[in-house]
């Protein structure tokens, strides 16, 4: 998932240039999967998002209309859209700050302790998503540890499920590891002597980070935002289980439109919005990163 593994040129297995045809043949199955099960389906969804919906039977009637996109501005949809974007931004921001600090902390530990600490982040990450979600019902629900501890301390506490707080906590819990990994990957590549140099030259904590660590880990920071912001919009389990379904996210709306209302064109339009936002975030982040590297090259020159 890290950019470093993805773009590093392979060293280990280089073969002579002959046999390149075999190379293409070996790629065929993967290309088939991507084309038939990702590209074509997304094209179908794009088409559906402009189709008329059948008001009686559900499903699509073909045709071409902008109505589905126009309806996104209806208060019902616009409200969910706005709320989702706000919550996603909040989640991405918290994940980024906490993830950055954690990645920095791990990358500055002795080399032999780093794998252990990284493993401590990987274990929750690979634990079943639903288990990680319902754990918060146990923790914050009625009669759970939170209520009991708060009451023992003399507070008048009651169950926090359903609540927005529970939604935010479990979103953070679900997305934090994904935010840590890419930042850690770029932190690990930073020369540790830079830190000493900065403090020898009298830079404070904030200055060291602003001038050295944040710019040098910018790629990881960018990936971390990409992996948390838009994906939060598509979450549908957490708002139902911990938010009581009162404040749906875009993901809930998509599921409902497809499985309950059978208004496929509308659901397709919503999915396209998520997809376009994702592409936009990738474009903006890579653009900003390029700008940053041009700027720093100019400064160096």
């Amino acid at each position: 998932m890290s950019a470093s593994t993805a773009t590093a040129p392979a060293r280990g297995l280089r073969a002579p240039a002959r046999g390149t045809l075999l190379g293409y043949l070996l790629l065929l199955p993967a290309v088939a999967v991507i084309v038939l099960l990702v590209i074509v389906p997304m094209a179908v969804i794009a088409r559906q998002s402009f189709a008329l919906s059948d008001p009686l039977l559900g499903g699509t009637m073909g045709g071409f209309t902008w109505d589905n996109y126009a309806k996104l501005f209806d208060p019902v949809y616009a409200k969910t859209m706005g709320y989702s974007l706000g919550l996603a931004a909040l989640n991405a921001a918290v994940c980024l700050v906490v993830g950055y600090l954690l990645a920095f902390y791990i990358s500055t530990r002795p080399a032999n302790r780093q794998p252990v600490l990284l493993m401590l982040v990987i274990i929750p990450f690979l634990t079943d998503f639903l288990v990680r979600t319902f754990a918060w019902i146990t923790l914050l629900g009625s009669g759970g540890p939170y209520v009991r501890i708060a009451r023992a301390l003399g507070f008048d506490a009651s169950s926090l499920v359903p609540s927005q707080f529970a939604v935010i906590m479990s979103l953070l819990y679900a997305f934090l590891p994904v935010a840590v990994f890419p930042i850690y990957a770029s932190m690990r590549a930073i020369d540790p002597s830079l830190r000493e140099a900065a403090s020898d030259l009298g830079a404070g904590w904030w200055q060291t980070h602003r001038r050295i660590f944040i710019p040098l880990s910018a790629t990881g920071i960018g990936s971390s935002i990409m992996l948390t912001f838009v994906p939060t919009l598509g979450v549908f389990v957490i708002p139902v289980l911990l938010g009581g379904g009162k404040d749906p996210l875009v993901g809930n709306l998509i599921v409902t439109l497809f499985t309950e209302f059978r208004n496929e064109p509308m659901g397709a339009a919503m999915s396209m919005v998520v997809l376009v936002l994702m592409l936009a975030s990738v474009a903006v982040i890579t653009g900003l990163l390029r700008l940053l590297s041009i700027r720093s090259n100019r400064r160096a020159a």
């Binding site: 190379g23 690990r188 999915s271």
Partner: protein, 256 residues
Amino acid sequence: MDRVVAWFCRLVFVFLYVPIVAVVVYSFNASEVSYRFTGLTTHWYSDLFHDDRLLATLRTSIVVGVLAALVATAIGFLTAFSLARFQVKGRAFFLGAILIPLIVPEIVIGVSLLEVFSSIGMQTGILTLVLGHIVITLPLATLVQMGAMAALDPSLSEAATDLGATGWITFRRVLFPLLRPSVLAAFLLSFTTSFSNIVISTFTSGVGSTTLPLRIYSSLRTGLTPELNALGTLLVLFTLVVIFLVGVRQMRRILA
């Protein structure tokens, strides 16, 4: 300030484990009503093994997971091998294409698959689940195996060639045995990803092909039961076993 960060990070580690520990602890809680802790019991575990409907969904998840992981690992191996060994033009393009499912939000992949399956009149069931899960596991399987191939010492295959081994013999006798751990790692990670998937399964499962996560989700909507904590504990245990088998080094290669 560094000391403040260090303390903060220790708290974050606590935050990462409190929920998991709570699930494990409450799975042994004797009290059925609410979460009053009244003593220890293991009978939620034995209840699990007598829940036939649950076991049926477990079987579905295992079948889907094994099939999807087998296909993803095999295709991922071919892809990684091609990209690592041959001078394919447009390498970055192919790699980028294979990583698309990591970038596109799962829900978009899920609904678009549903649309395609229904537009060609394909009944949702085991097959559609497997196809959907192949999409999301293929990038992982490819990355794990590509990382291992990039780390191989190139002189090994050169030595084999110098000693007169043909391309196929070199592959079968030298390269593949060295790559076997990464093939296993790719399989296990793909299986875990498929086994715990809920988003793709929501759109690609049919009547009679409910997966375990779908079943957990629908019972959670009516409330959390002690059995679910017991099941959760077993799933945590399963995760630990997988991580142990895959090994830290392999995990690090794909994640960080």
